[in-house]
């Protein structure tokens, strides 16, 4: 992120670079969380190098998720820009009261006399065999909480820029959701590499939404909405639908999950009338439920929709079970084909 640093090549490098640059630019930025100090640099290494460069501003904490978020909230109330790390998203449950009844409420409840420019980062998601308490995708529980923004990077949207926006340009608390499998993922660019088939339009500034179309293709048959790591699955499904089934899809990729601002999706849906929503969290009351509900309520024409999400089950340790619980490329393909009225093989 600094002028001299080489351009980052992975999501992890992008996030880590953004943290370095944020701390460099402002003495008000603090990092607070468990095991965030070097040489470890955090369980997923996102805070690597920070404590070496900014020893006074990287605070390793006891194992106290509620107090981590509460303490960071207090810092933010007094004008600092704290970035809290919750080691696994599963442990957000321990900080739920702090997020919902404290950080998110203060600004409104105090009638705009205070604000809480807090960022809470956390890795989520499965596919690493971590079992039932270290693999969940629980951000859905925080979508719609008044006063809280929920943002998720992906490999396409510049992850570091998103994090920078959340820390430096957002005066409200932001829950920043990082899928574990994204960290090692190379950054993507539309029209290049594995996205060579796609062209992208960007809507919004701070937390942009990308609409991806097959370059030079005819009108799309189906719209697929997703965020975060699900984009990795969706883009693979989209390519195989194109190559194997000649089905054209349009992908609408969100970074701001809540509040819901779905205009780009409405626009795509006006073209296709068919919507698949893909996410890694559990199906019921996942992000997709609100997306489908809003589209159903607001569309002039009838909407046909399918959600692809995890089964409403805990995430098992056994890979066979984990795979069968979490959404896969084949599920996205099946949903799109079924909506398009094709035989599902």
């Amino acid at each position: 992120m600094t002028a001299t640093a080489p351009a980052p090549t992975t999501v992890l490098a992008s996030l880590n670079g953004a943290l370095h640059s944020l701390m460099e630019r402002s003495g008000d930025v603090y990092v607070i969380g468990e095991d965030v100090l070097d040489p470890y640099g955090g369980a997923f290494k996102v805070t690597k190098g920070l404590s070496t460069r900014f020893p006074a501003r990287v605070l390793t904490t006891p194992i106290s998720e509620a107090a981590i978020v509460g303490t960071a909230t207090g810092m933010a109330l007094r004008g600092l820009r704290p970035i809290a790390e919750i080691m696994f998203g599963d442990f957000l449950m321990l900080a739920a009261d702090q997020l919902v009844n404290h950080a998110a409420k203060f600004r409104w409840m105090y009638n705009e006399q205070a604000s809480v420019p807090l960022v809470v980062r956390t890795p989520v998601g499965g596919r690493r065999g971590y079992g039932p308490t270290h693999s969940q995708t629980l951000e859905k529980m925080f979508l719609g909480v008044p006063g809280l923004r929920v943002v998720a990077p992906n490999a396409l949207a510049n992850p570091g820029a998103l994090l920078t926006a959340a820390v430096a340009d957002d005066d409200d608390p932001v829950l920043f959701i990082e899928h574990k499998l994204l960290y090692a993922q190379p950054l993507l660019e539309p029209g290049r590499g594995s996205l060579s088939e796609f062209q992208s339009t960007v809507h919004g500034e701070r937390y942009p939404t990308h609409t991806l179309r097959m370059a030079g293709a005819r009108a799309a048959d189906v719209t697929i909405a997703c965020y975060g790591y699900a984009f990795e699955i969706v883009r693979e499904a989209a390519l195989s639908l194109l190559l194997e089934d000649e089905l054209f899809v349009e992908i609408v990729l969100f970074t701001q999950l809540s509040p819901f601002e779905l205009d780009p999706l409405s626009a795509s849906l006006a073209r296709t009338g068919k919507l698949v929503v893909v996410e890694e969290g559990g199906l019921t009351l996942g992000w997709g439920a609100e997306v489908v509900a809003r589209m159903t309520e607001s569309s002039a024409a009838p909407v046909r929709a399918r959600r692809v999400a995890a089964r409403d089950l805990p995430i098992a340790n056994a890979r066979t079970l984990e795979d069968a619980t979490l959404p896969q490329v084949a599920d996205v393909r099946a949903a799109a084909l079924s909506l398009a009225g094709r035989e599902v093989g």
Partner: protein, 317 residues
């Protein structure tokens, strides 16, 4: 307003009067509020500070003007002792647009200058620690004061915060008001072991006081604040006290004999005799007129308009 050496007799008399009037203000404010409730001018609930006035008044008298306070459900007394605007609080409690939070917060959710409160037991404690940390980092010299009831020692996040406050030597004063009840539950049914030992186990300097004499509270608070500010390091003040009113409105299940015995600890009755009759009457007059003015204005004030709710549109309307 830090601790001074033995004041002159005149200064002591002036201080006595000041402290008395501030306690009286809280007492009469709360009484007025309960009265307005019974008249239907107030809605929701309230937790009066009647009987505990010496704590907040003694403490804030020796706090610095820039110090920060985070209070709980029983916050009116803290707010008034802090110097909060009377009319703005009355209006807030009536849900008026002129309230200190525009009617959004109400009784337990106040923000005024460096004074904050929230109604979830315990949750304010890490937030207060974070405030103390920010002020330490900014080297502002401000102390953060956080209020807890004895019952709130049930909440785990309190201990997470004690650990962090001690580990990082934060300039925070934990004020534990021990009225020996949590709502209707006597302390023997919800607290094991020892209160001071709980703070001390985290390496926090703790002073336990069992008095409702405002002068004694003031002295102890001054020492504790000095410790917190100068080290800086956290400290705890465990203040034995007596709630001389229901927990919220009509919910007093305590035994009559016990309540009667508690009346002996009324801080107004303890401190009052240090003033002359005329001084006390003047205090009553001054408080009455301040409260009348505040409440009359608040009663006349408008309710907030639905339009002031903010931009989020309601669906299907």
């Amino acid at each position: 307003m830090t601790l001074t050496a033995t004041p002159s007799a005149e200064a002591a008399r002036a201080l006595d009067a000041e402290l008395y009037e501030r306690m009286l203000l809280i007492r009469r404010f709360e009484e007025r509020l309960l009265d307005e409730f019974s008249k239907g001018r107030l809605f929701g609930t309230t937790h009066a500070y009647i009987g505990q006035e010496a704590n907040a008044v003694g403490l804030f008298d020796v706090a610095d003007a820039g110090d920060i306070a985070f209070s709980n459900h029983r916050c009116h007394g803290h707010y008034l002792a802090y110097g909060g605007d009377i009319h703005a609080l009355a209006a807030e409690l009536m849900g008026k647009a002129t309230g200190v939070c525009g009617g959004r917060g109400g009784s337990q959710h106040i923000c005024f200058r460096n004074f904050y409160s929230n109604g979830v037991q315990g949750g304010i404690v890490p937030v207060a620690s974070g405030i103390a940390l920010a002020e330490k980092l900014k080297q502002s010299g401000r102390v953060t004061i956080v209020f807890l009831g004895d019952g709130t020692l049930g909440e785990g996040v309190v201990y997470e915060s004690l650990n962090i406050a001690s580990l990082w030597q934060l300039p925070i004063l934990f004020v534990l008001e021990n009225n020996r009840y949590a709502q209707t539950t006597p302390i023997r049914l919800n607290l094991a072991g020892d209160i001071a030992a709980r703070f001390e186990a985290f390496g926090i300097d703790t002073t336990t006081l069992d008095t409702t004499d405002v002068l004694q509270v003031r002295d102890a608070a001054a020492r504790a604040l000095q410790h917190v500010r100068e080290r800086p390091a956290p400290a705890a003040l465990v203040l034995g006290t007596h709630r001389l009113c229901a927990h919220s409105k009509g919910d007093d299940t305590r035994d009559a004999a016990e309540l009667a015995a508690s009346r002996a600890f009324d801080p107004l009755a303890i401190h009052g005799p240090r003033l002359g009759d005329a001084q006390r009457a003047r205090a009553e007059d001054s408080v009455r007129s301040a409260l009348n003015d505040a409440f009359e204005r608040a009663i006349a004030d408008p309710f907030p308009l639905a339009e002031s709710l903010g931009e989020t549109p309601r669906r299907a309307r």
